[in-house]
Symmetry: C2
Subunit: 416 residues, 2 copies
Amino acid sequence: MLQSHLFTKTRKTPPKDEVSKNAQLLIRAGFIDKLHAGVYSYLPLGLAVLKRIEQVIREELNAVGAQELLMPALQPKEPWVATGRWDALDVLYKVRDSSGKEYALGPTHEEVIVPLVRQFLSSYEDLPFSAYQFQTKFRMELRSKSGILRGREFLMKDQYSFHRDEQDLDTYYEQMQGVYRKIFERVGIGGQTFLTFASGGSFSKYSHEFQTLTDSGEDTIYLCRACRLAVNDEIWPEVGYCPECQKTTLEKKKAIEVGNIFKLGTKYTEPFAVTYKDRAGEDQLVVMGCFGIGLGRVMGAVAEIFSDDAGLVWPAAIAPYDVHLVGLFARADEAVVKRALGVYEQLERAGIRVLSDDRQDVQAGEKLADADLLGIPVRLVVSSKTGERVEWKERTAKKMELLSVQEIIGRFLVTK
Amino acid sequence: MLQSHLFTKTRKTPPKDEVSKNAQLLIRAGFIDKLHAGVYSYLPLGLAVLKRIEQVIREELNAVGAQELLMPALQPKEPWVATGRWDALDVLYKVRDSSGKEYALGPTHEEVIVPLVRQFLSSYEDLPFSAYQFQTKFRMELRSKSGILRGREFLMKDQYSFHRDEQDLDTYYEQMQGVYRKIFERVGIGGQTFLTFASGGSFSKYSHEFQTLTDSGEDTIYLCRACRLAVNDEIWPEVGYCPECQKTTLEKKKAIEVGNIFKLGTKYTEPFAVTYKDRAGEDQLVVMGCFGIGLGRVMGAVAEIFSDDAGLVWPAAIAPYDVHLVGLFARADEAVVKRALGVYEQLERAGIRVLSDDRQDVQAGEKLADADLLGIPVRLVVSSKTGERVEWKERTAKKMELLSVQEIIGRFLVTK
């Protein structure tokens, strides 16, 4: 991508009405735009990050046989009444059409998927399975001051698993903990993300959250670093120690919930009478689990955690581009302009994703500041001083190296 | 994908409340599920088709430099009031939050993107550019009996272009006609899809639709096959002849609008005062075009056009899988079961997308009927009769061939 073609631009100052660090940086860098409180547009650079997070999650879920589908946001009232959540869920947006019929804007999809899978379930041989989607959720949040960490409209991976019995759910639930660890590892926040015990609802004693440490997090957790476990402060008074090593003096930390996993049991299969015939021919209620990851939350957490005074810092796995090629030239430096374009084309041909700052009439200092603000992992500089070589500098490193294009391509072949 | 793992199943009869052929077939085959009138879930097989259509469109738009973004559905009231569409647009769903604030559920995104791009536009050098998204639209349609051809919630590619003047818009508009032809060609409906003159609104005399011939279409067009052009019946009385060859005796046909392109001019840049400084330093209003494709409509049109009495027929470019491998065996036929699994693994390793019907205890006739219903372009059969070879049959052909796995892989290498 040639940066001169990119329709977004960086801004020197954050918008006045934005208090969260993630949104301030992402808006300044042109990754997102605020439409109103808790509702953001993802601009080309921001959408690229979101799509890369999505693809990591998709790969890990497909690898364990989960099946992707896409369910609607505009949901009929009846199933919400059936589960008792039409009145009970205060985040529910309600819509009325011209005939007076009422709908919910889905904040979650149990009320859709449970009646949906019912038609495909008859025998124990149809179980277990798991289905997931990347889908836009709507939640009428009272507070919305955390940028993309807590949105009123946001993209979520929500997933629902269906089992013959609690034992099978337990096995799958354990497996999904591992899948989640791998996902958070791959997107770059594995070190900061901890399995956290939280309140469990009616079916199981605890649910589990994946909490990522960040000072701007809205949650408070009690962390046992040695066991890599935490307890949410909601249940800390009743728990009071690390569930693994029983230590009682845990670290009190701020964190953001990037994912959660929940044993639903028969809470939603019962109101919709979702049963299967077991080996003995007896009807049994299907047992469910659910598993969520907020994509914007992951992106926002990354923006909060890794950024520095100069701007964003993206882990390579979810960066919008692999390298930011910065051409430093005046309009008259035709040789350097041509050289930069040549390097861009060579790298692109090698399958490297390049954002090439080919902008004319922008000062070197401004271009380098923009590169830091955008936070692409590797900055390459082509200037009248670099000759036949290219200056390589990693976003968080001080060291610069002069490399040939072939050496640069070689580094990506090794890491990919 | 092993079919025994797929959570959806085929149905012998269509749902009673569904009158459209596309939805009847897609529901029977387990591609979609109806949540309520005009609102459908896309199940794994259906989502695979939708994603392939999306990817074709994305590739063609990126090739001409359009930039992908993602804008919200939950939109503030104010810009809709500014354009006069808060009251004028009867398909607009309106939502009220607990504080009494009102929002629109976006049926289109001019009211979001125009104020959005304003902040990035200052000079003539910032123009032209074009931005698009794949995003869920909401429209309160009165009629919703056409399956996924006309939804109340549906996935749309909407795209907005921004220009210095009408001349530049005209050039881009011509270019986009070519891009659209290529997209419809690639997804398999090029032969049935015609550029159609339609009413143009305030800015230009005509807009253009891409209409795909199908008896179930809700539109009527007057078609000049020789010129590959049509006129929508809305403006036929005032036009009365082929805009190219002036012939007046055109074919009256039913069709479905799969895409439309529109010169917006300054209709939306004026209320939001979106200007740029021209070379002389004078403020000029930005000129806009917009370009839509309904993804569900394309999928529904394909389902309507190509299907036969036995079921769906997918063009290779958008089929959910490249081949449907059908293993015909009884539970005891271990050699055949193993052989089918081996063929599946060989094909997958070669990068061919395979749906493998490995179901036990399903009769051969039922498996073959399901293969026809699902409509994957190539059916491969492994049975006790096929020995070391595999039976190849294309969905719409009668001819069967016995091929080695290597020959099958070779055929895909040639066509890819």
